[in-house]
């Protein structure tokens, strides 16, 4: 009997020691201060019409956390800034999550418009083909609005610097870079390369709607999404160079030179990143920005010098380039052409407003562009320029 008493005491003592050390002690020692970057649930426009705190209860009730985490880590490129201990002080029950069957939602707020979020909850596959998220169409309108308000409040107080980062070795490429990726000249060079190599899938204006995209299961990226605003140079370069494994996006590092890829980066950065708007009525159509192509310039660039704008060897370039005020006409003229059909032709209502608008934009822009390009260009890179004009008028690669 003595032996068993000893054993029982041993079990009790070890177990309570462990409870003290791993359950009680952390509660005493670990009291992170609120970081002010947690969710406030209040500072979003949606909070005016719906109750984000109730939305959180619906998030818990519907069990969203079984598939979505709220917990970013250093190695997760693409989910926004890292979380800190203080972010969770008011989160009870915690929604850190357990498996990532869906994407992380730590910084989801503001990534998509509320209308998109609602449509996604009702019918996920309508806005994200191939998604396996269940439909939450059974939620009533109040629940749905509250839930969307909660989603929009996620991570809003965290300053977003980079969502995505290229692997570390890309710092070396960045250091070796000779091309000035901010310059219009480099962007113009990149435009030709883009039209020849990328437009067939990503579309002429980068909306991810090139002719090939129809048959691709995994759709090409739409560069006009606001998401791409935060892409740093090395990330663009990384994507172009290594492609996207598992998709049809090739590794352009195999076919293009490093320099050409930097021109591409310069061009990709000029694509407008704010044009993805939700259009609810015909009146809003005109507010959509027409596609803005990089400013035309007569600056020469030499592949060898990497297209530095107005390099000392080419003072002529500066001389030829029209002053910036004179530049807009191209855009203006697009605008006026663009406006015309939308206002005067009510028939555009029949093909759905956004579709009609995009169609017109592309058509007119490219038309105007071709004219100006061929008229004023004295550039030496005829290859690239050719790419542009053929691309815009007759479609990629058919020259």
């Amino acid at each position: 009997m003595k032996g068993y008493r000893l054993g029982a005491t041993g079990i009790i003592v070890t177990f309570f020691t462990i409870i003290t050390a791993t359950v009680l002690l952390p509660m005493v020692l670990f009291n992170p201060k609120p970081s002010n970057h947690g969710n406030t649930y209040k500072d979003t426009p949606e909070a005016a019409v719906a109750d984000p705190e109730r939305g959180r209860r619906i998030y818990v009730r519907e069990g969203c956390f079984y598939c979505h985490t709220q917990f970013t880590r250093k190695q997760d490129r693409g989910y926004g800034p890292l979380v800190k201990a203080g972010d969770y002080v008011y989160e009870t029950p915690h929604q850190l999550g357990t498996a990532r069957t869906g994407p992380d939602l730590t910084n989801e707020g503001g990534k998509f418009p509320s209308e998109w979020q609602k449509a996604h909850l009702v019918e996920p596959r309508a806005v994200k083909p191939g998604s396996i998220m269940p439909s939450f169409s059974f939620l009533n309108d109040t629940d749905m609005n509250d839930l969307v308000a909660y989603i929009q409040s996620l991570g809003n107080n965290r300053p977003v610097k980079h969502y995505v980062e290229a692997p570390e070795e890309y710092q070396e490429f960045l250091a070796k870079k000779k091309v000035d990726t901010e310059s219009d000249a480099a962007a113009n060079a990149g435009r030709g390369i883009y039209t020849q190599n990328c437009a067939a899938c990503h579309g002429l204006d980068g909306r991810g709607n090139g002719p090939n995209s129809i048959s691709l299961e995994k759709k090409p990226a739409n560069f006009t999404r606001a998401f791409f605003k935060q892409y740093p140079d090395d990330m663009w370069f990384y994507r172009v160079r290594e492609g996207v494994p598992g998709t049809r996006m090739p590794r352009f590092g195999m076919t293009l030179s490093e320099e050409q890829m930097w021109y591409l980066v310069a061009y990709l950065k000029t694509l407008p990143k704010d044009t993805e708007l939700v259009v609810n009525s015909i009146d809003q159509v005109n507010k959509i920005q027409p596609t803005r192509l990089p400013r035309l310039s007569n600056q020469l660039y030499e592949p060898a010098t990497g297209g530095h704008e107005g390099g000392p060897e080419h003072p002529a370039g500066e001389h030829h380039s029209p002053p910036p005020e004179e530049q807009p006409p191209a855009i203006d003229s697009q605008n006026s052409v663009f406006k015309a059909p939308a206002k005067t032709a009510p028939s555009s209502e029949t093909h759905g407003t956004t579709g009609g608008a995009t169609g017109t934009t592309t058509g007119t822009t490219t038309g105007a562009e071709t004219g100006t390009t061929t008229g004023t260009s004295t550039s030496t890179t005829t290859g690239a320029e050719h790419g542009t004009s053929t691309g815009t008028t007759t479609g990629a690669g058919s020259h």
Binding site: Y4, G10, I11, T14, F15, I18, I19, A21, T22, V23, P26, M27, L29, F30, N31, P32, V60, R61, E62, G63, Y66, C67, T69, F71, R73, Q75, D76, R77, G78, V83, A85, Y88, V89, T92, P93, H94, Q95, L96, A99, R100, T101, G102, P124, R125, K128, S131, I132, M133, P134, S135, S137, F138, E165, E217, K218, A221, V244, P245, G246, T247
Partner: protein, 464 residues
Amino acid sequence: MLVDRLISDREGSASRNFIMSALFWSLIGMGAGLLAAMEFSFPDLVHNVPQLSMPHLRMIHVNGVALGWLSMGYVGVMFYMIPSLTKTKLWSERLGNFTCWAWNAVMVGALCTLPNGFTEGREYAELGAVLDTIVTVGLISVAMNAYMTVVNRKVKKLYVSLWYFLGALFWFPLVWIIGQRTFVALPGLNDAIVGWFYGHNILGMWFTTVGVGMMYYLMPRLTNNPLYSHGLSMLGFWGIALFYAPTGTHHILQSPVPEWLKAIAVISSIFLLVPVMTVLTNFFMTMKGKWQMMVTDLPLRFTITSSLFYLITCTQGPFQATRWVNWYLHFTQWVVGHAHLALLGTFSFITTAAIYYGLPKLTGREFYSQGLIRAHYWLKTLGFGLMMTSLTIAGLVQSAGWHHAIPFDIWSIELAPYWILRSISGIMIFLGQCLFMYNVCKSLYSKEAKLKAAAKLQAAEVKG
């Protein structure tokens, strides 16, 4: 009288009622898991029914298999094994039967509340306050029953299985009470720390300890070999007692919780190899010279398979608890595979073995069909192999996806074949469990079975 029927004091009735309830809830729990798995492939399979949306099914699934199938099965098997090891009767069959009803009430309550959205939103602790309380009462009465049976024992020395059972029945009620957090609202990360202390110890201090205790019981009995070493078995027991409890934080290894807590968790996870290896050495040495029995003896076959799965689980576990590996595998389906390897592979198999071994002894009725048992074994083993393979590969694809910064929409499409494979494996496992249920019902309640039992009894009397 009705009370006598419902809360009977016939010997063995509590054990049998628990086992039958466990089988019933296993069908509900696995059915829910199967439907959830199918919704990964066909997300619109069930449309506009909130009760059957994937997260709600998952709550039914996990609560159904963990609380319903495994826990009730465990209690049933313990109520059979403890009296047999102490050579007495169960202290109170009435209390046992009463607990069984209470536990079934909890499960019915869970089935009504969880899918309708009454959840506390904490993994493994979803049940509401009332149900939590009933489970606590149930656990305390099971513990009471077991301890009193051991106090009344007719054998002086306590066999190692009893150590495990009694330890588990001391630990688990405490862990359960700490883990529910029903009446406290801890700040986020502390909530997670306590939550995973519980989430891990429901596995370590309940499913593992009782399951290993069952292996210790079955292995020597089925092979008629003496246990290889009692010294080793004690070493294993104390190793589990020391190293299992502090490992909870390895589930949130990459979250911003204190580093010292993570260090404790990782170190003790690795030290867990010691008890696991001693336990398994003990088993495999006990099997010495008797391996060929696996071919003919079906409960033994389940037991061995289970201990092999235990070996895989517990080499996988410390491996994925290290920071470098966890860094890659956390949040992926690999972990879901590990969870099924442990609970479905290891501990469901050992419970099944114990039921196949114990039920005939408990009720005096042979199993209706050996062929069905074989079919059950192969459906479960092959089905589980398929599930494990598909989930493990899916996990690796997933983590490769986000480590190469591939957009989510793209790699998630890549997983479609693995979801289909898992559904197929789910169908096999569920079918196996249905055969199990059918076989048990046929053996206990059919006319032939009754006649056979009566004939056996007569024969025994004639002989006697």
